[in-house]
């Protein structure tokens, strides 16, 4: 029997030896080379810039687009295109930079850009729909693009990472796309990481880093631990509960940056009670935004006054509103409701709402619960219904009153996408069923105007009108959390668009 015990002890020792068989790469490959490891929260199995929904090629500095979204001004700027213009909003002329090379050494010329855009549209129907390109003509470094209809926000759509310019004469788009960015792909392990090397001939000055690693992990706790173990230098969206612990680590900085997303309360305008603007305003008044931002998102959110974050030029200065349960009661009384025996009712009919929510965004069911509780204090019965795919459910079923939903409102710096999708009767995200002639006419006008300033003015008017009519109520803009080792990483910028991460300016100590 002793021999048996010895044998088991030997087996156990083998396990320990195996466990100890780690090499330096266990530390994330940190050596003297100028290198960073960024850990992102979405994984991808393909680096194809025209298809990848995680936008890794642009985020990792492999590929670039014709147009850039400036994070400070929130306006579009030249990138691979030097300039652009259009008289009628339908025929666009783009002047391309002439000093740009792909990472394989070939020059980026008009024909290459045309071929790249054509491939993006052929392989990605969403991009083909969004760009609405009818034809592309090339004359040296000048590209003339005609859209199928007047499309003033066309340049801003070219900010989208799936319109990246790559050399389509290469073949391995999934593992090794060849773009124009500061980093070229060295190797790619699908679902795990892409290893990058500096592209010395980068047109905007070679990157300060020699190498970089853009890795993925979809578990927030595991990402926090990776920063602690120095397995990663920059970590996107660490677990909120670990933020204090991370901040306590010497040299770790946690940034909380507002985004272009809004959590909103969508209202079904086809429901009887919600056809009265006073009821919609009462719902808006009932939402305790400060409490939700502070407790549910631990303060990592900007309280929303409208769909667009206040930093956008087309976000109106909304009039100060009274909020709270008393104000909601007052508004409901204006709509003819009275509270009797603790039940809010009109003509003997109690006021009840069905509120949809879904768990894909963890904050939303909690917001629904807070609202349910507050409405309960007014004698309103709110029934929460958990759904799976909100976009499907809200269109196919119209027996709901309210829905917590989350939208990107100006992902490429222009309000056109959101206003068309959400308030135009033909919009795919018009879940509230808004069909207001005045509003539609304003959006149609926006769709004809080319100048950025004029577009901003009209978008601002539309946002004000939506607020007056209270077609939806906006709760908050959630922040993005990024934790990084500021003792090592230099020149890191957390962009609100989250499109640009590894840049030529990024450096290490």
């Amino acid at each position: 029997m002793k021999k048996l015990l010895i044998l088991f002890a030997a087996l156990a020792a083998m396990v320990l030896v195996l466990s100890a068989c780690s090499d330096s790469s266990a530390e994330g490959g940190g050596d003297a080379a100028k290198e960073v490891n960024l850990l992102f929260n979405f994984a991808t199995n393909s680096l194809d810039p025209h298809v990848d929904t995680s936008y890794v090629p642009v985020r990792a500095g492999i590929a670039e687009t014709l147009v850039y979204l400036n994070d400070e001004t929130l306006e579009i700027e030249p990138w691979l295109a030097k300039s652009w213009s259009s008289e009628d909003g339908q025929t666009w002329t783009f002047q391309l930079r002439e000093d740009v090379k792909f990472q394989n050494g070939k020059p980026m010329d008009g024909e290459a850009v045309k071929a790249s855009l054509e491939r993006a549209m052929a392989d990605n129907i969403a991009i083909a729909n969004a760009l609405r390109i009818e034809s592309i003509a090339v004359d040296d470094a000048e590209l003339t693009i005609k859209t199928t209809m007047p499309f003033p926000e066309f340049p801003s759509e070219l900010v989208h990472p799936n319109t990246s310019i790559i050399d389509v004469s290469e073949t391995d788009f999934i593992n090794k796309p060849v773009g124009t960015g500061p980093f070229a792909v060295a190797s790619f392990t699908p679902g795990t990481a892409v290893d990058l090397v500096r592209f010395d001939d980068y047109w905007d000055g070679a990157a300060k880093l020699e190498r970089a690693r853009f890795s993925f992990n979809e578990d927030a706790n595991a990402r926090s631990l990776a920063l602690e173990s120095k397995g990663a230098d920059i970590v996107f969206r660490p677990e909120v509960e670990t933020v204090e612990q991370l901040e306590a680590i010497d040299g770790v900085t946690v940034e909380s940056t507002s985004t272009f997303r809004v959590h909103q309360m969508t209202m079904n305008l086809q429901r009887e009670s919600l056809q009265d603007v006073h009821v919609r305003q009462a719902i808006d008044a009932l939402i305790d935004r400060d409490m939700i931002a502070e407790t549910i998102l631990s303060g990592h959110a900007e309280v929303a006054t409208g769909p667009f974050p206040s930093s956008f030029s087309f976000a109106p200065d909304y009039p100060e509103k009274q909020r709270g349960i008393d104000e909601a009661r007052k508004l409901l009384e204006q709509a003819g409701y009275t509270e009797q025996d603790g039940v809010m009712q009109k003509d003997g009919e109690p006021l009840t709402w069905t509120l949809l929510t879904y768990s894909a965004r963890a904050d939303l069911p909690l917001i629904a619960q807070v609202f349910q509780s507050d409405a309960g204090q007014l004698g309103i019965d709110v029934v929460i219904e958990q759904i799976e795919i909100p976009e499907e459910h809200m269109v196919a079923n119209r027996d709901w009153d309210l829905a917590t939903y989350s939208n990107l409102t100006a992902p490429r710096g222009d309000a056109g996408y959101y206003l068309n999708a959400t308030y135009h009767p033909e919009g795919a995200l018009n879940f509230s069923g808004a069909d207001d002639d005045k509003l539609t006419a304003m959006i149609d006008e926006l769709n004809q105007v080319v100048g950025q300033e004029q577009r901003s003015d009209i978008a601002e008017e539309i946002a004000s009108y939506v607020d007056e009519q209270m077609y939806n109520s906006f709760v908050l803009h959630p922040n993005t959390l990024v934790a990084y080792n500021s003792g090592k990483v230099k020149n890191w910028t957390t962009t609100r668009s989250e499109y640009y991460m590894l840049t030529n300016e990024l450096d290490v100590e």
Partner: protein, 314 residues
């Protein structure tokens, strides 16, 4: 043996046809379709008309049986189609993910054997003693602890504090250690108790007493007779649960960013990526078939009675 294999192959053909049909129906009958994901309604401008047009173009408005017939026609040519989300051929994606998942599963099994064999054996040999109590306690603990929590604790301990092992990714053997240990520990509790009771049954057999009476050494009795006789029930449970084990590694794959097919298929189900879901089910069905066949054949090796029956000698 050839007859058994031939019969098995005929069975598997029918089984595969049935399973693809049922899974096709379930996937399509679940609410939603991939059109909104394909058109990226949450990010790009789309009209309701374009949504309906794509639904029509992709054949989602056709009757389910017609859709299945079309899928079957492609399947007969071994064309599983492209993923709706990534636009990559489904088979290429599965080919990329299956090795990682198998690696993780085998690693987990290896750890399970390393844990369950000594603990189960010692618990059986020292029945009622402290080591049996410890084994019981550890098994209960193992069954109660969720694998994602265990994974995070192991990352914290072995990755962050001790710095021995990488915390994520698939980069050589050492990167498979932590996920394999997590998986192995999570599944070993069942096998410790199962092996213990099976060993106790075998230890009480008369042939074992006879072997002792003949003066054969304890280790030889244990390894040559007791352990071998105890394995068939353990392997039966193992065979039944291996399919779900492969499918259930998804939690481990997410925590350790291990690029297997578990995570891939969860994304596919969320995005209603039908070709990917069908491809995954097909591959899993084949894997389960292969494993069950191996388990069946192993009975013949472990149990001489079955082998002899086959030769008509019993």
């Amino acid at each position: 043996m050839i007859r058994i294999l031939a019969r098995r192959l005929a069975e598997v053909a029918i089984f595969l046809l049935l399973i693809t049909f049922v899974s096709f129906l379930f996937a399509r009958m679940a609410p939603g379709d991939p059109v909104l994901s394909i058109l990226r309604v949450d990010d790009l401008s789309v009209s309701a008309e374009q949504v309906e047009q794509l639904r029509e173009d992709m054949g989602f408005n056709e009757p389910l049986l017609v859709q299945y017939g079309e899928w079957l026609a492609d399947f007969a040519r071994l064309d599983f189609g492209n993923s709706y989300i990534s636009n990559q051929p489904v088979m290429d994606m599965l080919r990329g993910g299956v090795p990682a998942t198998l690696e993780l599963t085998l690693g987990g099994l290896f750890v399970m054997v390393l844990v369950a064999l000594p603990l189960g054996s010692l618990a059986a040999l020292y029945r009622g003693r402290w080591i049996d109590q410890v084994s019981r306690g550890l098994s209960l603990l193992g069954a109660a602890v969720p694998s994602f929590w265990l994974g995070l604790i192991l990352i914290d301990l072995l990755g962050v504090r001790l710095g021995w092992l990488p915390t994520m990714g698939r980069d050589g053997l050492h990167s498979a250690v932590l996920p394999s240990v997590t998986l192995g520990l999570a599944i070993s509790s069942v096998y410790v108790r199962l092996l213990r009771s099976s060993l106790i049954d075998s230890l009480n057999q008369e042939n074992i007493r006879a072997a002792r009476a003949r003066g054969i050494s304890e280790p030889r009795i244990f390894f040559s007779h007791v352990l071998r006789a105890s394995l068939p029930p353990v392997i039966t449970v193992f065979g039944v649960s291996l399919g779900s084990l492969i499918g259930g590694v998804v939690v481990i794959e997410v925590i350790f960013a291990y690029p297997g097919i578990g995570k891939m298929v969860v994304d596919a189900i969320r995005g209603r990526d039908y070709p990917m879901i069908q491809g995954y089910i097909f591959v899993m069905a084949i894997l389960v078939f292969v494993i069950n066949s191996i388990v069946d054949l192993s009975y013949r090796y472990l149990n001489p009675e079955l082998r002899l029956k086959g030769k008509g000698r019993v």
